[in-house]
């Protein structure tokens, strides 16, 4: 019992010493944290500036690319192309990029794919995924590693070009995977603060040739349809990549703006604690000096 009491006493003493030491140490650690938060704020602020500039360009580019994407979709609507029945092979193209720190742009796309695939076991079996950008790969690989057909990397550093889209198209053609139907999933840009997940349909040659209104179209041969499909796939990819890039930049801009704001709040509260602690330390030192002097008298 006594032993325990002594132990308890020493323990509290040690604790007191610790808090005393911590009082000094806190000042130091607070100033370190303050400095690091200030640095983070600087970084987020400059990132916001950069993405604002990139966003401006992306939006300008998007305006030019819009008719291209919309135009290539019109034929499928006019000819009433529908997926071939019986061909269960599907393709999903996730349009994301390599870069993070942009809100839920990439996770939204990946979640959309994940939900569709998890909802239906047979689709999970027959669907292949093409990931454009590392981010979608990182998320989808955990669950659907064997569904991923290929991954396009180095996306997002520079604005997407038609060549990038053409490369992906060529890779898709060369992969040898034949799909009955498919879709490109991308973020459609609406305004600086909003984007929605949208889809563009993809069709195989067979579904185009068996479309209900295809007989209206004149002078069709195999080569023409094949080239037409390849080109329209490339232009739809190009358009969706442009939309994705624009949404990503705008979303990054908002995210970085928020981060700067939060960092500012943190800086305020840290400064307050810092000053308070400093004051406390000074007061304590004064008390120590005065009481020391008083003890000598």
């Amino acid at each position: 019992m006594l032993c325990q009491g002594i132990k308890f006493l020493t323990l509290t003493a040690a604790q007191q010493q610790q808090t005393q030491q911590r009082g000094m140490a806190t000042l130091k650690s607070i100033s370190i944290r303050l400095k690091s938060v200030k640095n983070i704020q600087k970084i987020t602020q400059s990132m916001k500036m950069v993405s604002a500039a990139k966003y401006n360009r992306a939006e300008r580019d998007l305006k030019q690319a819009k008719p291209l994407g919309q135009g290539s979709k019109i034929f499928y609507e006019q000819a009433e192309v529908t997926p071939v029945e019986g061909d269960t092979n599907k393709l999903m193209v996730a349009v994301t990029s390599d870069r993070g720190l942009c809100g839920a742009v990439h996770t939204g796309i990946s979640r959309n794919i994940r939900d569709t695939l998890l909802a239906n076991a047979s689709e999970r079996e027959n669907t292949k995924i093409v990931c454009i950008g590392e981010k979608s790969r990182a998320i989808l690989q955990r669950l659907f590693a064997k569904n991923i057909l290929f991954v396009a990397t180095e996306v997002g550093r520079k604005p997407p070009t038609f060549n990038d889209a053409a490369k992906i198209t060529i890779e898709l053609m060369n992969s040898g995977y034949s799909f009955g139907s498919g879709k490109i999933i991308f973020n459609r840009f609406r305004s600086v603060v909003s984007y929605v997940i949208d889809e563009l349909p993809l069709y195989s040659k067979q579904s185009v040739t068996s479309a209900s209104k295809i007989s209206l179209y004149d002078s069709l041969d195999n080569d023409v349809i094949q080239s037409y499909l390849e080109f329209s796939l490339a232009s739809m990819l190009f358009y969706s990549m442009k939309e994705g890039a624009c949404s990503e930049q705008s979303s990054r801009m908002t995210a970085m703006d928020n981060a700067s704001k939060n960092a500012g709040e943190m800086i305020d509260s840290l400064t307050l604690t810092f000053n308070r602690t400093r004051q406390a330390v000074i007061t304590r030192e004064l008390i120590e000096i005065i009481s020391g002097a008083a003890a000598l008298e």
Binding site: P67, L68, F75, F162, K213, S219, V224, S227, Y228
Partner: protein, 162 residues
């Protein structure tokens, strides 16, 4: 009572049927809407035009309103657009597609498109020489095919340049 209401209803139905509405402006069958976009630039976005001449792999052809629906693949060459006001615009395209739909809308989508005023003859000739050089040095099948395409495009480019 029932008969009265029945008569009344049939009467009302007639009234309803006879009621006329203003029709929407009839879609002009003789108009043709063109969407012409390159990956780099948009030239026309649903603009009414008189005629479009396009070079395609199945031969060059002109498109007038009420053209039969058609799909075609663009060949490197000059697309000529006759605008509604009578202006004629010539635009060089490298490759792409043409879609002519039933509702007289046309989509000309090109990989790369530039007005021919923007082309420089001597620069085009340089490119042509370079392409010829490339073809003569090409060894593998793939290189050869690429060089042939480059040659075809630059030839068309050289011809198109003023």
């Amino acid at each position: 009572m029932a008969t009265i209401s029945r008569i009344l209803r049939s009467f009302l139905k007639n009234v309803h049927l006879q009621k006329r509405f203003y029709a929407d402006a009839p879609p002009n069958e003789n108009q043709m809407k063109l969407t012409f976009a390159g990956a780099n630039k948009v030239f026309y976005d649903n603009v009414i035009v008189k005629q479009v001449d396009v070079p395609s792999f199945s031969g060059s052809f002109g498109v007038l309103p009420k053209h039969v629906p058609c799909l075609a693949v663009l060949k490197p060459g000059v697309v000529t657009v006759f605008e509604e006001k009578g202006d004629v615009k010539k635009i060089f395209v490298s490759s792409g597609t043409i879609t002519i739909n039933q509702d007289s809308t046309i989509q000309v989508l090109a990989e790369e498109a530039h007005p021919i005023e923007a082309l420089d003859k001597s620069a085009c000739r340089d490119l042509l020489n370079k392409a010829q050089d490339q073809l003569s040095r090409a060894s593998s099948e793939k290189d050869k095919a690429e060089a042939e395409i480059a040659l075809e495009v630059t030839k068309a480019l050289e011809q198109a340049a003023l």
